[in-house]
């Protein structure tokens, strides 16, 4: 297929999707079909104009200017695939402060996973969950942290899609170099490591963002203890786990 006809087909598809969304939303007299169509448009063609259109659509839907401002900001600073580490660190610090300011709590992720576990148990045996002492602390309610995790997934997807960094893969490159290209092996190890991580986070009372960062920035001893223990555990395990395959120079 030649380049010209490909481009033509491409624009026809875009027009088709937008038209379907527009007509359905006119017919149903509600906003969600056109918003779905716009989101789909963005996923198919992550360009600067799709992100601006998407931002405008959400701004009209929510009656607030913030989506538009966010899309313009992403348009200006989201194009490079990476930011340099130091500006990113400062941006991260602003997010952390914004969390304290806006939501009156530090950024913490692991609570969301624990609550998800509680919700799954609640679906199976609700009476049992009510008796458990631990699920009184982590009630099976969809809360702030679950919304936060959802936001992280969406934000990461939008950002990577816009800069063209999005790539579906099941095994990371460095793992391929040191442990072989088997998907089953990687996923099995990921699951085991996940169990260890969830367990350790419950023992210590938080994860990297909830205990380490928020502990250190409030000068609590817990953050420093956790940071040093994490570093030592990580390096020792890397040496033991990957053995002679530790050093893989990635030619980037």
């Amino acid at each position: 297929m030649s380049g010209k006809s490909k481009k033509g087909l491409f624009f026809i598809i875009i027009f088709f999707i937008a038209a379907i969304g527009f007509i359905t939303s006119l017919y149903l007299k509600s906003w969600w079909p056109i918003l779905t169509a716009l989101s789909l448009l963005f996923i198919i063609t992550p360009r600067w104009w799709t992100i601006l259109i998407l931002g405008t659509g959400f701004a009209f839907y929510l009656h607030s200017g913030w989506p538009l401002i966010a899309s313009v900001a992403l348009f200006f600073i989201g194009k490079p695939k990476r930011w340099w580490p130091i500006p990113t660190g400062i941006a991260f610090a602003l997010v952390e402060f914004y969390s304290f300011y806006l939501s009156d709590r530090p950024l913490g992720i692991t609570r969301g996973y624990t609550v998800t576990g509680a919700i799954i148990e609640y679906l199976i045996a609700p009476d049992y969950v009510d008796e458990m002492a631990y699920w009184q602390i982590y009630e099976p309610i969809i809360d702030w942290t679950i919304a936060l995790i959802t936001g992280v997934v969406i934000g990461s997807f939008v950002s990577s899609r816009f800069s063209g960094d999005f790539r579906l893969n099941t095994v990371p490159d460095t793992w391929k170099m040191s442990m072989g290209p088997s998907t089953a092996k990687r996923w099995a190890w990921a699951f085991i490591a996940g169990i260890m991580m969830g367990f350790a986070a419950r023992i210590a009372g938080g994860c990297v963002s909830g205990l380490l960062i928020s502990g250190v920035i409030q000068l609590a001893p817990s953050g420093f203890i956790f940071m040093i223990a994490l570093w030592i555990g990580g390096v020792v395990t890397t040496l033991l786990f990957y053995r002679s395959n530790v050093i893989t120079i990635k030619r980037e």
Binding site: T114, W144, V153, A190, G205, P221
Partner: protein, 316 residues
């Protein structure tokens, strides 16, 4: 099955949800999560390669990102807490469980390559191996709650419990003294991290050190594994080359400038395979054909090019 659905509906019912609107609930969480996701992705810390590279002592992106993060946020948090704009939420300090938990957590990060937040980011980015990690985290939390919480909450979880305290409370001095000390330490650490890279580059540039070292290490890796998958696939290679241009625009520009300068006479422009910023110096430079170009490049002349110059002088 119907009972399941009823319970599912019950969970998503607006009465049992936290309040939807309002900054302290779902909307605020979603907004913060969106910003947080973008920052995580742009900082490249949702990648197994970067996190694992930290523990393999080969990639210090996380240190370079983490130090300014801690420096800036400690100042912001304490400044605005002094003004009364925000409240502190100090985590509980329990020494022994946190040491054990930290060691176990570090082990898990070394194998999984994501921490809980970046696992979610990695799923959004297309690295599907974050999914079993997330499922494992849920399973681990349930495991702890079901089997260990009742036994350990009175015994193991209280060893070294000193409550919700901070260093300024313990030492009994103004927190700004400690913050200044902390900032100095962190700044020194950051400078050290940066200097280490520069030092390696310096050694490579002037003494050709480390080049044989890294090559020797590559040979020790079992054959077939040290070759990235890109080498076999030309499309993949193209993609990676494109990425490099995006990641290091200045580097590429500099490199092409150097090549063009030295190749003005022959008009042959070989664009060398682009490598990381540490490896620029290794990049094959075309031989200098005339003394003019050598004079132009005196600033970039390396010690090991001196013999070439002397030969050129002797020839005529």
């Amino acid at each position: 099955m119907e009972v399941f659905l009823e319970r599912l509906v019950e969970i998503f019912d607006t009465d049992t949800l936290e309040s939807i609107s309002g900054p302290t609930s779902l909307t605020g969480g979603l907004i913060l999560g969106l910003i947080f996701g973008v920052v995580l992705q742009k900082g490249r810390i949702c990648k197994y390669d970067v996190v694992s590279g930290l523990f393999r002592l080969q990639d210090f992106t996380i240190f370079r990102l983490g130090t300014p993060l801690l420096m800036v946020s400690v100042v912001l948090i304490y400044f605005f807490a002094d003004l009364g704009t925000i409240d502190l939420h100090i985590p509980k300090t329990v020494i022994l469980p946190q040491i054990v938990g930290g060691l176990l957590f570090g082990a898990a990060i070394a194998i999984l390559g994501y921490c809980p937040g970046t696992a979610a980011g990695a799923v959004g980015e297309g690295s599907l191996d974050g999914i079993p990690g997330i499922l494992g985290m849920i399973a681990g939390a349930v495991l702890y709650a079901e089997l260990f919480y009742e036994d350990w909450s009175k015994s193991f979880q209280t060893i070294g419990d000193i409550g919700r305290v901070t260093f300024p409370d313990i030492l009994g001095i103004n927190h700004w003294f400690i913050i200044v000390l902390f900032l100095l330490m962190m700044a020194m650490f950051l400078v050290m991290m940066t200097m280490m890279d520069w030092f390696i580059i310096f050694l490579r540039k002037f003494f050709n050190y480390f080049m044989d070292f890294t090559e020797g290490l590559e040979k020790n890796v079992p054959s077939g594994l040290n070759q990235p998958a890109s080498k076999t696939d030309p499309k993949e290679e193209e993609r990676i080359a494109k990425e490099q241009i995006d990641y290091h625009p200045e580097v590429v520009q500099k490199e092409t400038e150097i090549i063009q300068k030295s190749d003005n006479d022959t008009k042959k422009i070989n664009i060398a395979p682009i490598q990381t910023d540490e490896q620029i110096i290794e990049a094959p430079q075309p031989e200098k054909t005339s003394q003019q170009s050598a004079n132009n490049n005196t600033s970039q002349a390396l010690p090991h090019t001196d013999p070439d110059k002397s030969q050129e002088k002797e020839k005529p």
